[in-house]
């Protein structure tokens, strides 16, 4: 536990509390208050990111603390986009995701500011991480829908029903996941001379991409004949993403080129 008695910490805890309250309001069907709190949480988390940016003086995506902080901001606009444009609901789930990602930023990861090592001083650093963050949020939304479906819950709410919603989220996230992988590869080539270095982090990200490739082909072949199997693919994909994002960074098991990102 690393409680942050700083302005940065205060902003994160406020946003976190808003997201939790928004979810509670939603549970008690106080929809408007829930939406308002959700938006407020987003606004405060946004201020927290800007504050961090100003504090460290580089794009705040260098370590897990900064990445989780940014994830806590991106979820609201994606939620809105999904409802308005993609016909996918699950806002209550989004509030939970937002709280889950801000929790480790506020209470687990160290916020010690770091200077950018030479390898991270690249024009591809920001786009690569940003695109991955967007992809991860879509995939997280997909897996919440998939898990709900496996648990026998429907997310209808006048939007796409759950299995279809899951598929649409994967369709939204997969191109971003692909772009993230490709940008990382191009960057690796610029920094280390290898567009593919067989580093553990690269291999985990390839594995997560391939799980979704598998899902897309499976669903293409089987349609909704086995909806539960479809959902299992997506949940497995998210599990592999989590390993890519966390385990490789946290454990000493996979020492590699990306270890600086701890």
């Amino acid at each position: 536990m690393a409680i942050k008695w700083t302005i940065q910490g205060l902003l994160i805890y406020t946003a976190l509390a808003m997201y939790v309250l928004a979810f509670v309001a939603r549970l008690f069907r106080v929809r408007r208050a829930g939406q308002a709190l959700y938006f407020l949480g987003f606004a405060v988390a946004g201020v927290a990111v800007v504050y961090r940016w100003w504090h460290v003086w580089h794009v705040p995506m260098q370590n897990l603390f900064e990445v989780f902080l940014c994830l806590g901001v991106l979820i609201w606009p994606i939620s809105l986009l999904c409802r308005r444009r993609l016909g996918v609901g699950g806002v209550a789930g989004d509030m939970v995701i937002a709280a889950i990602v801000l929790f480790p930023a506020g209470l687990i990861f160290s916020a010690e500011p770091q200077q950018l090592p030479p390898a991270l001083q690249s024009g591809l650093f920001g786009p690569h991480v940003f695109v991955y963050m967007l992809a991860y949020i879509f995939m997280a939304k997909a897996s919440v829908q998939a898990a709900a479906q496996l648990a026998g819950k429907e997310f209808g709410e006048g939007f796409a029903e759950t299995e279809e919603g899951t598929y649409r989220m994967v369709c939204a996230g997969f191109p971003l996941l692909t772009l993230g992988l490709v940008l990382g590869s191009v960057w690796g080539q610029q920094a280390w001379g290898d567009w593919w270095g067989w580093d553990p982090k690269e291999l985990w990200s390839l594995a997560s991409w391939l799980v979704y490739v598998g899902y897309l082909h499976w669903r293409y072949m089987q349609g909704r004949r086995y909806p539960r199997v479809n959902s299992v693919w997506v949940v497995v994909g998210m599990a592999v993403i989590l390993v890519t994002l966390l385990w490789v960074n946290l454990s000493r098991l996979f020492e590699g080129l990306h270890s600086y990102a701890r």
Partner: protein
């Protein structure tokens, strides 16, 4: 007796299953590779069985264009699969196997990967591969200067014997209260190249800028009772508390960049240090900014960490790279067209088992 040919649907179904199995196998191998570490993983993915796998996978992708006519009216999906073919081809052409094959078939003599050590002021054209003999390039690289740039100010780290620790900006004039029984610390001076010189009978610390470098800070430790002592803390030597000393002091500066100022000298006869030749290009090679010349890329890789007199460049052949980039472009374009294009269409919720059968039969009913 005429044998019955399998129907197109069966072939398609079979190929789709094989494709899915190939994708899952690769995912499993990737996870395995992540556990064994980059070096062993590279060996595994470049082994003979895997070489067979890569070729088989590329063939499978290629064959799918012929077996699934649906690709013709799905430019996005076609672009994705074609992109994958190019990436795999580029990877194979650029691999060690690819280089060896090109040597035999085309007679090209290119090293796939190697290292170059260049001293300041000298030219070099020899590249040392990980194993085997050095190869001479058709041009030389001259190192005008190698330098390391640091983030300023550095950090003075203070550790007390009882385990308390502080980090202070190592900037002349900084004064920091360590609190209570620890007293305070003051940074007096910074040195780029610390030297002791004799002035009369006394040895005096001076900053002697020049090619050498011995970064240090002069620090005053002030006890709670007002007693004071002056210490020199060196970047090159990690601090430890000697007998009777209350603190271990260390001085760090984080590296911002490594820069090799390089000139490309176009004289194939030139071999060794110091010789002249026409300079045809120049570049500051930095991390993330390699030099691309003569079919190779030159990367900042290492340096002389004792005196900073030479740089080590990693030299990588660019064979196959353009093919990979082209494949990436197709792949990225394809996924956005195919997947986001689908999202832009009005929502469809009645995808059924019948639809799956339609797809397998290869007929073009839109989905």
């Amino acid at each position: 007796m005429a044998t019955k040919r399998p129907s197109k649907t069966k072939v398609r179904r079979f190929l789709l299953w094989v494709g899915l199995a190939a994708v899952v196998l690769l995912a499993v191998l990737s996870v395995y590779g992540a556990f064994v570490g980059a070096e062993r993983a590279e060996g595994i993915f470049n082994s003979l069985p895997l070489a067979v796998y890569w070729v088989g996978f590329s063939v499978l992708l290629g064959v799918s264009f012929w077996v699934f006519p649906r690709f013709t009216d799905r430019p996005g999906a076609a672009s994705i699969h074609l992109g994958c073919v190019f990436v795999l081809l580029g990877g194979m052409v650029g691999s060690q196997w690819g280089h060896d094959l090109q040597r035999v078939v085309l007679g090209t003599e290119k090293i796939r990967r190697g290292r170059m050590v260049i001293y300041e002021g000298a030219s070099e054209n020899r590249v040392y591969p990980a194993s085997g003999e050095a190869k001479e390039l058709g041009f030389s690289l001259r190192l005008k200067d190698f330098r390391m740039e640091h983030y300023e100010p550095g950090v003075l780290q203070i550790e007390s014997r009882d385990g308390a620790g502080w980090r202070v900006a190592a900037e002349a004039g900084t004064e920091y209260e360590l609190g209570g029984e620890y007293g305070k610390v003051r940074v007096l001076r910074k040195f780029e190249n610390f030297k002791l010189v004799l002035e009369g009978d006394e040895r005096v610390a001076v900053d002697a800028p020049g090619p050498d470098s011995n970064p240090a800070v002069e620090v005053e430790l002030i006890g709670p009772d007002g007693s004071s002592s002056v210490k020199y803390v060196f970047e090159r030597f990690r601090g430890h508390a000697g007998a009777g000393e209350r603190f271990a002091l260390s001085y760090f500066r984080m590296v911002r960049d490594y820069v090799s100022e390089i000139e490309v000298v176009a004289d194939p006869c030139l071999q060794h240090a110091g010789a002249g030749g026409e300079v045809v290009a120049s570049k500051d090679i930095e991390v993330n900014h390699p030099l691309h010349w003569g079919g190779y890329r030159f990367y900042q890789s290492s340096y002389d960490d004792k005196e900073g007199k030479f740089t080590v460049l990693q030299v990588v052949s660019d064979t196959g790279l353009a093919v990979v980039w082209f494949g990436y472009a197709l792949l990225c374009l394809g996924v956005f067209v195919q997947m986001w294009g689908k999202l832009a269409k009005p929502q469809k919720t009645n995808f059924t088992v019948t639809e799956a059968k339609w797809r397998l039969s290869g007929q073009s009913r839109d989905c």
